[in-house]
Symmetry: D2
């Protein structure tokens, strides 16, 4: 099976997430980076391309140029897909253009900076018949897939309560907004959308809840706050109700000191409670009534894991995989689907429907908070 | 310093908490059990007294009898205090009678089954000039005291966010209400008050928040639920706002499978985050920005712990103390105060004011939930 | 069942272990401290007795006086047993005298400072028909008993390999020998015996190995070392062979920085590996091939624990017990035996045979080390 | 900087370690797989090459053919290095041939199946002036490098004691030797060398000890064992002495049930103890006397980590990296050195001297065990 030839939009020098996407694609093994428009200025794009090792002839000054010029290349040479890793407010234009040009699209989450833009992308995909994957990375972890399968299997019973948190501390100081390329656009409403922490990481938390439970967040009561002098949320918490009747709490914050990237979830069902923490992704705890607690460990050779879960691992038990491998699993699954070879039982990446649900979560959270933390349906 | 002679009210055969109080008093070392009215039926009281080893002549058929008869004994023989370990709805009558008879009172939490009864006890204490301690056990843990001192010390800055949970699973099945003496009264509104899990353990969680932060819960938005067929809450969650402006989430539940007695709290301040879990009470984690995470360990000989914190421990580092020792610390502190010897910087037990705050927390939570989870001020 | 009346020998002001024994006896509930010879000088003994709250008339100036004078008291008043908590070299004389006076004896480990003294005590016990318990505290932990039962049950198969360590850091600095009452006698060969760390804590480790496996250490190859300027070992390690053919490693040290009281053991059998650590005594991990790892948790109400193991706990799951409760279990079991009521399947305390095995372990370790770390049979 | 063009020897269908090397090289980013002799039979080699995506014209039937034919290609096309991932007894012939052909060599550990073969490779490297890296993977972990720097920095003082274990359970059953391609050659003395577990994983443990301490294992007393019916060791333990005077214990086993790949090390120095476990590679614990325990966490943005350590990470704190990234660090460092760009303070991979030391460790362990576990100098 030949790798999918792709071009990258964004991800030039100094950008964090672009390098992550490229390494993930390399680990996945079924993608090949052949072109790029790495920056909004042609000079920077060229410099970045040279550093990355992309053919200078296919390092373009803009995404529009890349889409146009690649189309002129022979069918077995030109890009088949684009990877979009620009700031949130720059997702929609290249995504729509690429879809309309017949390219498949993989795009860093969130899908877009506004609900309108998200819907526009979704419509372009429908119109064009092309496919989109949004990299909700955390669902790429093997044990997250295992958790989903366990809940879906029915033996745990119904979901009663979920606790999820996604907390960081990199914006905990007033000074963190200065001299930080990452921070600059993420906390600027014009670039990032109206949401700060809830958009940046709260949507990951919400997506994780929906992925594992197989349900939707139906309504939410959220209170978002921010440090003095800031204009969009950097911290917030919410009560929520699941479509199946269960209840939940969610905390998302980028100002909680000592937490690096602490996405942690507990899902309690009638007969078992399940606990997973992203910073220790290779084990999952399952509590049961009147029985020893179980630790389920990752590993391609663990016979007790589901077949789909074993298949997305590269190493046997005790050889830790991490964030990059989880990210690679998104790429791999999308690549397999593009090549027509995917048939996994567990979804390999967030669907457009999942993604739009995340956008609704965000809109409802903002609306709830604006009204003083009242209940809002999604 | 001679031990405080006390009589126990409740705590007969089959009761859990009475034995805990007696062992705690024995570990404390400054209390002596000399009398008891251990049950509501005289026969059971006698049988329990014999088993416990209390003088049969001072094992009474009712608390009223105990209070009356002990008063006739010589001053250096008769009881000086009572320990009340009856179901919640049976707290107020003996507490008020004991206070009015000039006895000091130590009482299992919550103070009473209703706000009215709690206030009546508080007024009796004021009238009589006698003292009351309510056994919010978890504040007896050394590292909880250390946490309070660290926050109070000011170097951590202001409290930004608190996450607290207190979860158990012993009522997770419908059948758990049958044949269970503990469950029977706790889930009966007539005996336990209107609140189930929020009264039984949610108040512990709220007390822990207020003890460590030194602030009050100012307002709350709570949603309480229960399994089908039950009449009072067995599960719930809340958003809350602290008096100092910080935010918080609280979960209290007795139906979350796999959790035995999982009281866990995170307190994030401007400069540090602090994490403690009751099931592993001898260590506390402190996260800081750009610094290694610290694990603070218990131990009477740990030079980095506060003097007050070292003083309430019986063993050097690495020799774990537990729940009974924490409970004993409440008794010891109250005993020292009764003997006039207490002077610790950190409060040794929950004051009446703390306790009334807990009652308000409960009333506000119930009110909020009844109205569909809206914000209610305490 | 009336409590066992006991007198304490040693344990005066400034001593650590005496207070531990007294609190353990109080938690046990079936012991009553009624007399004492708390120090080698009468004045200190009296002062300590007053502080502890023992009747001044029964606070004696020497253990010889206590044994003689108590014998003159009425049978239902005088002491029935003694608790010996003196330095190691002062164990044999009072133990032998007490046994010959018809008293039962509970004694802090190790039994004696030399093999000869240990045998003399054992012979006195045989001659007198009285009973001795040695407080190898760590076998009092509920999950250590559970571990023993699991191995004895046979379903784990044979023991393949044991790793045990008992490490502390309180002697890690040269200056630790000055101004430290604990250290002074423990590192003085005249008082403590020839062994330092191996005698003080290595014997605990060896005892734990034998208790859990139900086997004896058959031969050992040990290398003991010490910081410059010291005369007895403060650190050492060994390879050993079990009587059943399994192999093991043991480390005992009081100079390993950062370790407070880190007794940890792994026992690997044909079908399962079992892991327990004293500093987190309420959980035990069991690893199996191709199955999730299990965490077994302590708790009087855990249905999956053995009946004997549940019976020695005072609190339900999630309410941590600790070192003092483990110690109390030794007292309780010995007290029950003295009252004729003991019938537990799992031994409640170290037998004389266990203790003599520990003495042999120590002698063989010293011999092995002196010869340059060669194999020595026990 | 152009990537290093390499050919792989071994690593065809069904082999585990070959795929690991290829992914590691892809993550490293400075290697490019352009040729291969993936199997000892031409058909299998071709099939494997097709699956991997190597140009069929450069997929050879034998390593000899690959070396000969590649030399005929233009200088900027032909391979510059080989990666050797064959069974141990097949390391020396291709390694020596490649070196003599002017190629650099990266080779899976251990360097060779016998000390003689190892020396022959070392001499070929000296003769040819080419470079060799042996993939002792675990030294590629960032926190292992940090540990080395901390010890080397001198503030921890001298190394007192090391405890290291490397334990697995995949050979715990007699039946594990049947139908297992991995097991087949590893437990066959003709292919793997005389050593089983001690060669396969014990050498990793020894290498880790020497890497972190910066010292050599000077002498060893080892006892190796095996399950009935086996011919080479599958389990063993040892006491050892370091060149600096410190002591140590080592356990290496492939029959300890429940352990997947449990490489764990504790290094105690005069002023601090340091603990790292491969299965949780992104944190390291540092214990100090009278101070809170510290957890050092991985992350490219952790300011408290050494510059070299930060440089080998791809993600910020809280985004776990794992085994493949550690492996990639070996490739990256070797690639940088081949390109002349390496200047890291901390060694990026095991030198030939490190590797020969590991061979001596193995030989001495076998010799010691054969003589009944006596001390043998390395």
């Amino acid at each position: 099976m030949k790798p999918v030839r792709y071009g990258m939009i964004g991800g030039g020098q100094g950008a964090f997430i672009g390098g992550i996407h490229r390494t993930a694609a390399a680990i996945a093994g079924n993608w090949q980076l052949v072109a790029g428009a790495f920056s909004s200025t042609p000079e920077k794009s060229k410099a970045s391309g040279a550093e990355i090792g992309v053919d200078p002839a296919r390092t373009y000054g803009s995404w529009a140029e890349m889409i146009a010029r690649e189309a002129e290349l022979p069918a077995d040479v030109r890009i088949e897909a684009v990877s979009i890793v620009t700031p949130n407010h720059m997702h929609a234009p290249p995504a729509i253009a690429a879809l309309e040009a017949g390219l498949d699209v993989i795009i860093d989450k969130p899908l877009a900076n506004t609900m309108d833009n998200a819907r526009a992308i979704a419509e372009a995909a429908l119109r064009s018949g092309r496919r989109i994957a949004v990299t909700h990375t955390y669902t790429g972890y093997p044990l997250v897939k295992q958790a989903r399968e366990l809940v879906a299997g029915g033996q745990f019973g119904k979901v009663r309560r979920v606790m999820v948190k996604y907390t960081q501390d990199w914006l905990s100081r007033a000074s963190d907004l200065e001299n930080n390329k990452q921070a600059a656009w993420r906390v600027d409403p014009n670039q990032s959308g109206d949401a700060g922490a809830f958009g940046d990481i709260g949507t990951h938390a919400a997506n994780l809840v929906e992925f594992i439970t197989g349900e939707r967040i139906a309504s939410i009561c959220a209170e978002l706050t921010m440090l003095p002098g800031r204009h969009i949320d950097d911290d917030g918490s919410a009560l929520f109700r699941l479509s199946g009747g269960g209840k939940g709490t969610l905390v998302a914050s980028q100002v909680l000191v000592g937490d690096a990237n602490d996405l942690a979830i507990s899902v309690y069902c009638d007969e078992a409670g399940l606990h997973w923490r992203q910073e220790q992704p290779n084990s999952m705890t399952i509590g049961r009534r009147d029985k020893p607690t179980e630790i389920w460990n990752a590993g391609a050779n663990r016979a007790y894991l589901a077949t789909d879960v074993r298949a997305v691992q590269r190493t046997p038990g005790g050889h830790p995989e991490g964030y990059l491998e989880a990210f690679a699993n998104i790429y791999r699954a999308f690549g397999e689907e593009l090549r027509g070879g995917a048939s996994a039982h567990t979804p390999g990446y967030a669907t457009m429907d999942d993604t739009l649900s995340g956008m609704r979560f965000l809109a409802a959270s903002l609306e709830s908070s604006r009204q003083g933390a009242v209940w809002v349906d999604l």
